[in-house]
């Protein structure tokens, strides 16, 4: 028990001295994970659109070749960046770019480098997720869109991707949470996110375990909050379970509700006295299924 008390007091001590450092680390981690996941999603969506541009025997030969080439390039990109560790990609890109360009191209901002690397990595995963999302949409929807004259890009952006995006929301969430944790490897290029502060702080005072406990709690609270927000967003994207009738049927009248424009109804006298037959305030009917969806 006293071990726990000691841990508690050590953590409190660390927090007192380095609390702002931990918090700024969490901020960097969240910002990097969020930006990189968003850019990764965009890369994934673009790859998804490029990968599904249809061609047939009427497509001119150069265009057909180009489309095939694009698919090959996307495939290579996905396989390379999905198949190698991100920590290695970070080193490879961060030091590789100046190496090849004779130091004319190098990262003078660690944020740029970190965002680029994590985005490219996420994009490779998202490209496959988006592909799965597109496949999951009934091809009839594509035909329906084509039949009213939509182009491939219009079909994708208005009809298919919004639905695919909804279907892959759990995977986007997955990627975000993975990014929150995996950005910790960015210490390799000197990016100071949450975990980097652990390394600095323990380098000064050797309080490895209390600091690790703080890190554990920090990461877990970030990912748990992210999960809750993502669930909420999914619910929002599903839209309302019920809908409002836009107009009542003009010809349908309940018996006894007829009122002559000039003469009124026979009950007007009664209404004046008691007022008990007042018209109920116009309440719109709601139809639809309750929350019986999965």
């Amino acid at each position: 028990m006293d071990k726990f008390l000691k841990l508690g007091s050590d953590m409190a001590l660390l927090w007192e001295n380095y609390g702002s450092a931990y918090i700024s680390g969490m901020g960097s981690t969240l910002a990097l994970a969020l930006i990189a996941t968003l850019i990764g999603c965009i890369i994934g969506l673009i790859c998804g659109i490029l990968n599904t541009i249809p061609y047939n025997e009427y497509t001119p030969r150069p265009k057909r070749f180009l489309l095939k080439l694009i698919r090959v390039i996307v495939r290579i990109y996905v396989e390379v960046f999905r198949g190698t560790p991100m920590v290695l990609q970070a080193v490879f890109i961060y030091y590789g770019l100046p190496y090849f360009s004779g130091n004319t191209m190098q990262f003078d901002n660690l944020w740029t480098a970190a965002i680029l690397i994590v985005s490219i990595n996420t994009g490779a995963y998202m490209a496959e997720s988006v592909r799965g999302g597109i496949i999951s949409i009934d091809p009839g929807q594509t035909e329906g869109a084509k039949a009213i004259g939509m182009t491939h890009v219009q079909t994708m952006t208005s009809v298919i991707l919004p639905q695919a995006l909804r279907n892959i929301m759990p995977q986007i969430g997955n990627n975000f949470i993975i990014n929150v944790k995996d950005t910790s490897v960015m210490f390799i290029i000197g990016f100071t996110e949450f975990f980097a502060f652990h390394r600095y702080i323990t380098g000064v005072n050797n309080m490895y375990f209390p600091s690790a406990a703080i890190e554990m709690i920090g990461y877990l609270s970030m990912t748990l909050i992210a999960s809750v927000i993502l669930r909420f967003m999914e619910k929002r994207m599903d839209g309302d379970d019920s809908y409002e009738l836009a107009s009542e049927d003009q010809l349908v009248m309940a018996a006894g509700t007829y009122t002559h424009p000039d003469k009124g109804s026979p009950f007007d006298e009664y209404n004046k006295e008691g007022g008990s037959l007042k018209k109920a305030p116009g309440k719109k009917k709601r139809f639809g299924r309750g929350g019986d969806r999965l």
């Binding site: 035909e143 329906g144 869109a145 039949a147 009213i148 004259g149 939509m150 909804r166 836009a246």
Partner: protein, 250 residues
């Protein structure tokens, strides 16, 4: 005689070694209401899908107002915006409401403003009796209602010709009527329609021309009176006799 809208010449389509359409010749003039009947697998739907370029014909050509639309360098999307299609499985956009379904094509393809598109969409939704449901999503309405929305969506594009691919085959029997009555109204108003159907009563009573397809070829065509009253070919007689036995459809 008015100008022909669509000309189908020597159209063939094979899937691998299986040839589905064999040398089809076929014209559509303005105001035509043509029913295509025939057994399942006889190529009716494939013909319709070729006409809308959802399938690429293996050989032959299709002309739209005289210009060939089967070949390289054709703007298929633009052509399709003139030729509406209603599918067996409705194919409404599930991410949009009923109203948005009828607006999106006008806004994206015809480049109309939202207000114009909305007005036209509301007009056609009213025509098919779906005004109360404009805020509903496809998953919330019945099959017959979905199909009526699909018809309104196609009409909102002001198509010159409307293709129906077995529009009532996926519906419960009690919903077939509401869709057919909408189609009948359209036919009476002079809409050019090409209908693949198993509803013999519709083919007989509403269409002006009936095409009987068998095994990938047009076996016989004529007025409903000719096809149903006095079919010339043995295959046509055999096909129709199956319906006669089954019920009062014909």
């Amino acid at each position: 005689m008015s100008e022909v809208i669509l000309e189908v010449k020597h159209l063939s389509k094979s899937f691998g070694s299986h040839s589905v359409l064999k040398d089809i010749d076929f014209n559509v003039s303005p105001g035509d209401v043509t029913s295509i009947i025939g057994a399942s697998g006889s190529g009716k739907s494939t013909l319709l899908r070729c006409i809308n370029l959802l399938e690429t014909p293996t050989s032959g050509e299709i002309r739209y107002h005289g210009s060939v639309i089967t070949g390289p360098g054709v703007d298929a999307a633009k052509y399709r915006s003139h030729v509406g299609m209603v599918f067996q499985s409705f194919n409404l956009f599930n991410n949009m409401t009923v109203l948005e379904n009828c607006m999106v094509g006008q806004v994206k393809v015809l480049k109309k403003t939202k207000a114009e598109a909305r007005e036209k969409a509301l007009y056609y939704l009213d025509r098919v009796g779906m005004t109360p449901y404009i805020n509903a999503r496809p998953r919330q309405i019945s099959g017959g209602q979905k199909q009526r929305v699909a018809i309104a969506r196609a009409l909102a594009m002001d198509p010159e010709i409307l293709l129906f691919d077995e529009p009532t085959s996926a519906l419960d029997p009690e919903m077939v009527g509401e869709v057919l009555s909408v189609m009948q109204k359209l036919a009476e108003e002079g809409m050019t329609m090409l209908v693949v159907t198993h509803e013999m009563a519709f083919a007989r009573d509403v269409s002006k021309r009936v095409v009987y397809m068998n095994d990938g070829v047009i076996c016989e065509e004529g007025t409903p009176g000719e096809i149903f009253g006095d079919p010339k070919k043995q295959e046509t007689r055999d096909f129709l006799s199956r319906f006669r036995k089954e019920g009062p459809a014909v």
